[in-house]
């Protein structure tokens, strides 16, 4: 590519960013597990997109609605997979595939919201802790100690008992627990290496305010590492929500965990694999989507930590 | 004259890497008598450490000895089975590693590490082995109370002495010292070198001293071996090499050492880089940087040029014998 004349500041930054992204992608693509993770995510994303299309075109609303649908043409729900219901129906007569696809959409949103909260919390705590040091650092790190030691799931259960948890509130809770624990400690360590770099000193000498330095210099350099942890947060979020829904303590209408919960509370799981379509698709989806984000995170590791690169 | 303790002939070592086979050592020959201390000197990457590792047969997984004979008291080490070789390690030939901190197990007490070596090769009661460790610490000038400490509690100089003591534990025939003082400050370096020299001459041990520092080599060695790009380009008694080097590289090496005495003169620097060890040039490896290079230097391996017990590989030697 011939060198272009870049005059404007934002053009330069944009070009640098694009090049960095290209290089990162090339590095990421080297790891097969990372690509596998991406493939699985794409698959589920397609499912999520396909659902409203199907609902609007092929599937009748009364029968295929994931929450209130009911197929009166068949008797003895739950029914095994058939041409009409590719994954069968659940004890309440709803189409399993439709429920599965619909839930995908909420799982993604939950995961992304939790991840964003994590990144914001961890980056803020890490940067502030590293930059200011002193008692603020001590307090924040003690808080991180507490969060690391606290069993998250037990906390969510108690929260569910105290408050009414829906997707949004749960996502925020998960995001905070993920972000304020080990993640913030690791990001703080990274932030410290940045805070002692000469350009930060130069910025301070030039009269930059604390806020400016943190936002312009530290945060952008912490982003790659934070992005890595986002992946693991999504895994944790999807897993936690599934377990909590399975326990039946959440205030949400439909998710994969709810599907399993419905099956179990209706007593159909006691027959083992006879009613496999009630358990397998949901359980497999949870496992696959959790695993996919984890794999992507693992694939991102060499990109973010140059030490880990094979070359 | 007795047989040499160590006799190396035609030793060649290669490493298999992603980029190709690295010819780390080519056709190396060396002889070591009892009580002799040979100093192996050369630039970083010339193969000195590889020789040491090859002699003990502890090369990395991708390293391979492709040719040669290593006779320790007449027994070819390269022909032995792994078990046989393990028996001779440390008791026949031992090593003092570079950067002593890293060659000590951080979670084990130092006394245990020394005793471990002794118990591996001799049938002794543990108390006797501990006693010997104490004696060894005396020899290197360390307090016996330090034995029960852990490596991280030692200072740099202390660690180096401890590692030397450990290398002496089984009274080996040959000790290899791989840049033992490079990581230390000059004062400590001084003392350790003196100590080493004293131990070596008192016990009449055969020693191979490896360094890139010509000054250190000059202090410790009775004979010198100059290595370049995996080959031994010159070897001989120390005083002969320093007074009358044959090989142009040796001359350049000696000339690059600044002198504290005499008139001030500009430092002579050798231009260029050592050759790529994967893709070695056909002739003399030094041809590209040699001031005395001739046509045949580039195409044919030079012959051995000898003067009494000093010899070199050169077509156009500096001080022709």
């Amino acid at each position: 590519m011939a060198a272009r004349q870049l005059d404007k500041y934002y053009e330069i930054r944009l070009a640098l960013l694009l090049r960095r992204l290209r290089e990162s992608w090339a590095l990421f693509a080297e790891s097969r597990i990372g690509l596998l993770g991406v493939a699985i995510i794409v698959f589920f994303a397609l499912l999520a997109i396909a659902h409203p299309i199907l609902m609007a075109t092929v599937w009748e609303h009364e029968v295929y609605h994931p929450v209130i649908g009911f197929d009166a043409s068949l008797v003895g729900h739950p029914t095994p997979p058939s041409a009409r219901h590719l994954l069968g129906t659940d004890p309440l007569g709803r189409d399993i595939l439709s429920m599965l696809m619909h839930s995908t959409h909420s799982e993604f949103l939950l995961g992304i919201l939790a991840a964003v909260v994590t990144v914001v919390a961890a980056t803020t705590v890490g940067a502030v802790s590293a930059y200011f040091g002193g008692w603020l650092d001590s307090v924040l790190m003690r808080l991180a100690d507490l969060v690391i030691m606290m069993p998250a799931l037990s906390l969510y259960i108690v929260l569910a008992a105290l408050f009414d948890l829906n997707f949004t509130t749960l996502a925020i809770a998960i995001g905070l627990v993920s972000g304020l624990g080990a993640t913030s400690v690791i990001i703080k360590a990274q932030a410290i290496t940045i805070s002692v770099k000469p350009y930060v000193e130069a910025a301070r000498g030039a009269g930059g305010s604390h806020f400016h330095i943190i936002v312009t210099h530290m945060i952008p350099n912490l982003m790659p590492l934070a992005f890595l942890f986002m992946m693991f947060t999504v895994t944790a979020a999807i897993f936690s929500e599934a377990v909590l829904s399975f326990f039946g303590v959440l205030n949400i209408r439909m998710s994969w965990g709810i599907m399993i919960n419905t099956a179990q509370s209706s007593g159909y799981l006691g027959f083992g694999l006879e009613y496999w379509w009630l358990l397998m698709p949901a359980g497999l989806s949870i496992t696959l989507l959790c695993a996919s984000f984890y794999l992507v995170g693992r694939g991102l590791d060499p990109v973010v930590n140059p030490r880990l690169r094979s070359r | 004259m007795t047989d040499p303790v160590l006799q190396v002939e035609g030793l060649s070592v290669e490493y298999a890497t992603e980029k190709g086979r690295v010819h780390a050592v080519t056709d190396l020959a060396m002889t070591l008598e009892e009580g002799e201390a040979i100093g192996l000197v050369g630039e970083s990457g010339c193969g000195k450490t590889t020789v040491a590792l090859a002699l003990m047969r502890i090369l990395a997984d991708n390293g391979q000895i492709v040719n040669g004979k290593v006779l320790l008291d007449g027994v070819d080490l390269l022909q032995l089975s792994e078990e046989e070789m393990a028996k001779r390690r440390w008791s026949g030939i031992s090593m003092v590693f570079q950067a002593a901190m890293n060659s000590l197990n951080p979670v084990q007490r130092v006394v245990d590490q020394i005793v471990e070596a002794i118990e591996q090769h001799e049938e002794v009661a543990r108390s006797d082995a501990v006693e010997r460790a104490r004696e060894l610490f005396d020899v290197v000038g360390l307090d016996g109370a330090l034995l029960r400490r852990y490596p991280h509690e030692y200072s740099g100089g202390m660690r180096q002495r401890a590692v030397i003591a450990m290398a002496l534990a089984c009274s080996p025939r040959v000790i290899i010292a791989d840049e033992p003082t490079t990581a230390l400050d000059v004062l400590v370096q001084d003392r350790i070198l003196d100590q080493l020299k004293e131990i070596q001459s008192r016990r009449r041990m055969a020693m191979i001293y490896i360094s890139h520092d010509v000054g250190v080599i000059a202090r410790v060695s009775t004979s010198v071996g100059v290595m370049y790009a995996g080959r031994m380009v010159e070897t001989g008694p120390a005083h002969a090499i320093f007074k009358r080097p044959i090989h142009p590289y040796t001359e350049a090496l000696l000339a690059s050492v600044p002198s504290a005495r005499g008139p001030r003169r500009p430092l002579r620097v050798l231009g260029g880089d050592p050759p790529d060890l994967i893709d070695l040039p056909p002739g003399c490896p030094f041809a590209a940087r040699c001031s005395r290079v001739q046509e045949r230097c580039r195409t044919e391996i030079p012959p051995v040029v000898r003067s009494e017990s000093q010899w070199a590989l050169c077509w156009n030697p500096v001080n022709a014998p």
């Binding site: 358990l279 | 000590l104 197990n105």
Partner: protein
Amino acid sequence: MTKYLTSRLFQSAGVMFVFLTLVFVLVQSQPGDYANVFLDNPRLTLEERAELRASFGLDRPAYVQYALYVKNFFKGDLGRSFIHQRPVVHVIMERLPRTAMLFLTATVVSFYLGFVLGKIIAWRRGSLVEYASTISGVFLFTIFLPWLGLMALWLFGLELGWLPLGKFLTPRLWSDAPFAANHVFHRLLWTAFIGGGFLIAATFFLNARRLPGRGFILLGLAAMLALAGWGWWLSSGLAGYAADILKHMVLPVAVLTAVSFAGTMLLTRSSMLEVLREDFVVAARAKGLSEKAIRDRHVARNALLPVVTALMFSLAGAIDGGVITESIFSWPGLGLTLLESAVVGDMPLAVGAFVFTGVFSLVAHIAADVLYVSLDPRIRYS
């Protein structure tokens, strides 16, 4: 070392205090209050409700409640369970040994299994082994635990009928037993602690003296202990009951171990590979030591350190895994208590169980910390 430990204890006390405060804040910020579900009984008149609220101290200002709360905690009073009509502490103490048994067994087995397997696969390298272990490791790591639990229940409980379907004892067997199940549990725990502690102490003692034939001595000691223990159990007539409990423990422990050992295994492997590159491993080989000595005394012993650190970070997750497992297998321990009380709105018990879970976690972390310090001399002597 004692200095380090005392400072850690102080730190932990501080963390505990912050934890208690946090729980209090959470409970206070609940819309309505503590006794909502309980007092939402339409048969209660407004006066009765107010009276009951006062008896719970819910009419006092927040800071008074806080002071009472903290005072009561140190007195060991966590309130009364609405449902069980008993002090919360009693209910928890009843359930705690079962959780402790499950947690300890699963943690020890999974750590040991993971470490040994990791050691082995690190020593024999080969891309197929690496690939297979990474894939299976990741799968086990992210598999949905309830799913795994349910399938294990189905397979081993229903289909094959080898193992029981849940709970921790067979009622038929126990119906005319003259003692409580907890009695047996306590005995089991004591056996495990004393036997295990003795073996650990013996290991340290023998290692310090470096007597020859350590392995055999230890094996002999373990065999003697096992026989003595077995004899003790048989003589007390409790053996059958203990065996019943152990049989019920197999599946929960197996499931919990399955999802946690993989992480330890993979970490051990990469840790071993990193340690292999260290110079002291080359030095060990130069000393002519056997492969086994190098692998165990030098490489594994050093590779152990980061793995124990990782264990500390995974403890909270292991406790959570225990909650899920208890729920699936109806194992009546602390986790199931937390869940059940949360579902029905028995707030004193739920919050009490949660506080206790936090204490449990804290103790586990301190224990792991002590373990790490005893393993790394660089911390002990500095």
